[in-house]
Amino acid sequence: MKHLIPEFEALKTRLPPGLDSILVLPCLRRIQDDRGYIADEDIDGLVEYLGVPRIQIEEVLTFYTMLRRKPLGRWHVQVCRNVSCSMRGAEPLIKHLSNRLGVKPGETTADGRFTLSTVECLGSCGTAPVVMVNERYHELQDAQSLDALLEELK
């Protein structure tokens, strides 16, 4: 994480001075974008850089579902299964993806390309069902459109 410190410093210019714990989540997210997950040495680095207790960072890491301690597949395919998406066919879509990729939700394919997950409402219910692949939303999905999408993801 050390190489990211100049970026973290830049964030401080628009934050109230002296309240560095505000940077806990922004730093963790940035580290994860960089490395793909949060490693032990990142936690050590943040404890030192922000001066917050180690336990606080450990608690944060277990509390927020988007933060992870292990790498995922290259493409993280998350299917929303909340009310509106289920009402527009999310459940058969999850089965379809599971069959096609040969993994259950929560698992990664043997070649490390795909991790399949389910996720709760993504705030895009009007264009359900919604599938999020890495950072991007894909709306109004069906089996065909997802097959085509998977083909493109190498």
Partner: protein, 443 residues
């Protein structure tokens, strides 16, 4: 047409979200006028007079919240725009962030001036992609044009804004949990008092308002409280952004004037129920619409919708609420037991685990509904679900525990026969279906 417009009053084009387009619509003239001509307390007075109610779920009058903060007490104050938007069925704030981010930013400046808040935040849900990129770009544009930073427009007023991204926790939409999250901790809600307007972020007076609530402010100050009061109904002035999804022909975000007819909205503006089917039930304002009202939000049945007008009071009168404006239409033929299962799984997953009734109760209720759906339910399970729901009510720190209970009670109250049928016959009265397929409609 769904009545007069305040927020969706321009044509969406590929660049209508940019600063240039916003300035073309008269943007940032209101904050210029405020800084030139108004005292902080004049702004708050106008907001109080406008009667605008919060759009995040509880419909608390925004002005009354602000009045608690004394802009001249010399301590730091904070303003937060709540853009966590995680309430299932709700995607209206996303419309503002994507299509009119500068409306939010200008309104935040107005609010920050009234509250003497030097530092402001937008807490945006962690997953959002385009709403975040658009908002972040708008923030850069606004800084570059001198609307944020030191000594704004030469007025002596300085204000910063920081877009804070969440990391996937529904409960962080709750205001005190949101503040804990910004402080760099787990998002545990906390008991009031003290109110957040007394001790909020880092123990300083803090106002948390929903994105839509804030976004109305520039208009209110530009046109005056009196003009605002002419829109909507006496008890619920203004408009609401309604996001509608589920079994509806034309899902999406609509701006609807308060007092508008629900039947007209559903059947004309939104094109009616999907595939021409009949409406079975309607979730009026997000699956926890009642979160903070203290009223048991009911899932509305088809007959109760017909005569209803869209405003806060009208919904409270029927024991529900407009909540977060996240409407979900449910067609005939949908299995209500399975639908409740999806909701209870969600609440169980999102319970932060702090309060025993919520943590244990959600797990218990989730296990029971799973059992019923898999055909292993017992007759006493229905009353057990009701018991857990009633026990949760009012015994927990935040509204999440209550909301799950209200939903359960409403589902069982209106559709008890479906629960009984499933337990007795070990299969759903409605094929266990959640989707609404055209073949079934024609059959």
């Amino acid at each position: 047409m769904t009545g007069r417009k305040i927020l969706m009053n321009f044509e969406v084009t590929p660049d209508s979200h940019t600063l240039g387009a916003y300035l073309g619509r008269g943007g940032y003239q209101t904050i210029a006028k405020v800084l030139r001509e108004m005292k902080p307390e004049d702004v708050t007075k106008e907001i109080v007079a406008s009667g605008i109610q919060g759009r995040g779920g509880a419909a608390f009058p925004a002005g009354r919240k602000w009045q608690v903060v004394d802009p001249h007490d010399g301590q730091p104050h904070f303003l937060i725009a709540n853009a966590d938007e995680g309430e299932p069925g709700t995607f209206k704030d996303r419309w503002v962030l994507e299509h009119s981010p500068h409306t939010l930013l200008e309104s935040m400046l107005v609010a920050a001036y009234a509250l003497a808040a030097r530092h402001t935040f937008v807490y945006i849900r962690g997953e959002f992609d385009q709403p975040y990129t658009r908002l972040a770009a708008a923030v850069e544009e606004a800084y570059a044009a001198g609307y944020f930073g030191e000594n704004i427009l030469g007025s002596g007023f300085s204000c910063d804004v920081y877009v804070f991204r969440g990391a996937g926790a529904y409960v962080c939409g709750e205001a005190s949990s949101l503040l804990a999250s910004i402080e760099g901790s787990r998002g545990y809600p906390r008991n009031r008092p003290p109110r957040l307007t007394v001790k909020g972020l880092f123990q300083r007076p803090t106002v948390v308002n929903n994105v839509e609530t804030l976004s109305n402010l520039a208009w209110i100050i530009a046109h005056g409280a009196e003009e605002y009061r002419k829109v909507g109904t006496p008890k619920s002035p203004g408009t609401r952004l309604i996001s509608i999804s589920g079994h509806i022909q034309r899902p999406g975000v609509y701006e609807v004037e308060m007092g508008y007819s629900w039947a007209k909205f559903l059947h004309e503006d939104c094109g009616g129920v999907l595939h021409g089917r009949k409406l079975k039930a309607l979730i009026p304002g997000g699956i926890s619409s009642q979160v903070l009202t203290g009223h048991g939000a009911k899932v509305l049945t088809a007959d109760s919708v017909d005569s209803l007008l869209l405003d806060h009071q009208a919904l409270w009168d029927v024991g529900s609420s407009l909540g977060s404006g996240g409407m979900i239409a449910i067609a005939e033929g949908t299995c209500m037991v399975r639908l409740l299962q999806v909701m209870l799984r969600f609440y169980h997953h999102e319970s932060c685990g702090q309060c025993t009734p919520c943590r244990e109760g959600m797990g218990w209720a989730h296990r029971i509904i799973d059992r019923i759906v898999s055909g292993e339910g017992r007759p006493e399970d229905i009353d057990r679900l009701l018991h857990i729901s009633k026990f949760n009510d009012g015994t927990t720190i935040c509204g999440l525990g209550d909301a799950a209970g209200y939903a359960t009670i409403a589902f069982i109250e209106h559709f008890r026969d479906e629960f009984e049928y499933l337990i007795e016959h070990k299969r759903s009265k409605n094929d266990g279906r959640l989707e609404c397929l055209p073949e079934v409609a024609n059959a």
